[in-house]
């Protein structure tokens, strides 16, 4: 029988190249010292990428693209069923890791330092979320206000180019208002405005699906744009829904519309006097094969949708111990005297229409940190 230690370096590289995640590569490097020296560690991509700003933005000091990654991690203790957690991780430009809430992407604090040794976990990378950190200095002429402010924008990201070395971004247009989109290509290093929507609508969801960007606005208009700025219109959803989310599940693009119980209920969202989920019901549609029509979907099947502030993702219920499929996990802002005071997470069962705070669904709540991580920290 052949001896694996005699495997020539270039063949080892062929195997290493076919590993899908960085963690698998780290494991292969940890087998023995000669393999460690044979396999190089590729640098992490797009951890923190500066982006040029548009010419007329006098107040913007810097614009940076950051990546947040969602993982499903599993730890196994002898004699007990495996435990799983959803973690969203952000590594900043200094290499420091931050734990984020999977839905609001806000930093999770208030716990003792946590050290996870990934060698003790199975790690499944679920998806990546990209955001733009915009550092702006408003009130330059008013010294008491001149403090840099960091704003976060949702962005859809796509690798482009022959070897996927370049990328394209699409983000709801900020400067000058309007419902348009801003498009950026890393090769051209310039922002281009797309969409001639009137100022009464604004783009509320963007995503990347099968080589194209998709964006939907408050009026329900949906367009797809490819990297060459070729756009296609998808049939209108209408503007009754309070919020729309774009998410991929099972190889299909879904749009989730959240409806309020009555027209002016928007003011109640997360307010102190009205705690609880203000959304009356959700409607899900999927993009047809031709990519030009939204078709209503009655059930998500085994899928669970996690609808976040900046992006959304889906997981099969069978991957989440104890959880039911055909559910939506959604976050809602909480307001205290007109200031944002955090987010609350709710679980919605699409079949029955029942919903409740995350605490009422222990199988879901133990998935999100700290959940029942308990004594895993070293």
């Amino acid at each position: 029988m052949a001896d694996w230690s005699q495997l020539p370096r270039d063949l080892l590289h062929l195997i290493a190249k076919r590993l899908k995640t960085r963690i698998d590569l780290l494991r292969l490097r940890s087998i023995c010292s000669s393999w460690r020296s044979s396999i190089a560690l590729t640098p992490k991509q797009h951890r923190h990428t500066p982006i040029p700003t548009t010419d007329d933005s006098k107040f913007i000091l810097s614009l940076d693209l950051s990546v947040h990654t969602v993982y499903l991690i599993e730890s196994q203790q002898e004699g007990s069923p495996p435990k799983r957690w959803l973690v969203k991780v952000f590594e900043d430009q200094h290499g420091r890791m931050h734990l984020l809430d999977p839905l609001s992407s806000s930093k999770v604090v208030g716990f003792d330092n946590l050290l996870l040794d990934l060698r003790e976990f199975k790690v499944f990378e679920l998806c990546q979320e990209h955001v733009l950190h915009r550092t702006a200095m408003y009130g330059v002429h008013e010294p008491w206000r001149s403090r840099p402010v960091v704003e976060v924008d949702k962005v859809a990201f796509m690798c482009v180019g022959p070897e996927n070395n370049d990328f394209a971004l699409v983000t709801p247009h900020r400067d000058g208002g309007g419902g348009g989109l801003a498009f950026f290509n890393s090769r051209i290093q310039q922002w281009i405005t797309i969409g001639s929507h009137p100022a009464t609508s604004s783009c509320i969801a963007v995503t990347h699906f099968e080589g194209k960007f998709y964006a939907v606005d408050t009026k329900g208009r949906t367009i797809s744009i490819d990297q060459f700025l070729d756009s296609k219109v998808v049939t209108n959803l209408g503007s009754d829904a309070y919020m729309k989310y774009l998410v991929e599940a099972g190889g299909e693009l879904l749009v989730v519309e959240a409806y309020l119980p009555f027209p002016n209920a928007e003011g109640l969202i997360g307010s102190e006097s009205h705690r609880g989920l203000c959304i009356d019901y959700f409607e899900v549609s999927k993009l047809n094969k031709e990519g030009d029509k939204w078709v209503k979907v009655n059930s998500l099947g085994d899928w669970v949708l996690f609808l976040g502030i900046y992006s959304s993702f889906s997981v099969l219920a069978s991957e989440l111990p104890g959880c039911k499929g055909n559910c939506i996990v959604v976050t809602q802002p909480r307001w205290k005297e007109f200031n944002l005071d955090g987010h609350d997470t709710y679980v919605v069962e699409l079949e029955s229409g029942r919903s409740g705070p995350l605490e009422n669904y222990p199988d879901f709540s133990k998935l999100l940190f700290p959940g029942d991580m308990g004594t895993s920290s070293t």
Partner: protein, 148 residues
């Protein structure tokens, strides 16, 4: 191109005008055992057959090939994969090499380091200082306190 090393041999033979018929030539393959060679020949024949059956439909070829590959993997022992990779590499059989490398990657992905060591029959020979460096690579360290 399949079995490039063998084809090269034939080309050289023809150039030298030594033999007249390909069917009677014996090609020495000192680095390949008979068992992996048999598998590679079967793989090659199957690939050509599937390609011929689905001449115009590339997607169908890929689908059928995938199904065959899944079946083949069930019959191959993980330990045999080294021999197959080395044989495919020696024979310059690119598609088979690609397939078996993918098979190894699938077998070890998201498995523990101990499993991967057992799979390859290798043992850790790291010194204490190196083990520490490894731990750093696998550590996710989160500070629970807000710096602001």
């Amino acid at each position: 191109m399949k079995f490039c090393a063998v084809k090269q041999y034939f080309d050289d033979e023809n150039n030298n005008n030594i033999t007249s018929g390909a069917s009677t030539t014996m090609i020495p393959l000192p680095n390949v055992e008979s068992h992996p060679l048999a598998i590679l020949i079967t793989y090659c024949k199957k690939h050509l057959k599937i390609k011929a059956n689905n001449a115009d439909n590339k997607k169908e070829t890929e689908k059928e090939m995938e199904q065959y590959e899944q079946e083949l993997l069930k019959k191959v022992m993980p330990q045999e994969l080294t021999e197959l990779i080395l044989a495919a590499n020696y024979l310059n059989f690119k598609e088979a090499l690609d397939f078996f490398c993918r098979a190894v990657a699938s077998a070890i992905q998201n498995k523990s380091i101990e499993f991967v060591r057992k799979f390859f029959g290798l043992e850790s020979d790291f010194e204490l200082g190196e083990e520490e460096k490894l731990r750093e690579e696998f550590a996710w360290s989160f500070e629970g306190v807000d710096e602001d």
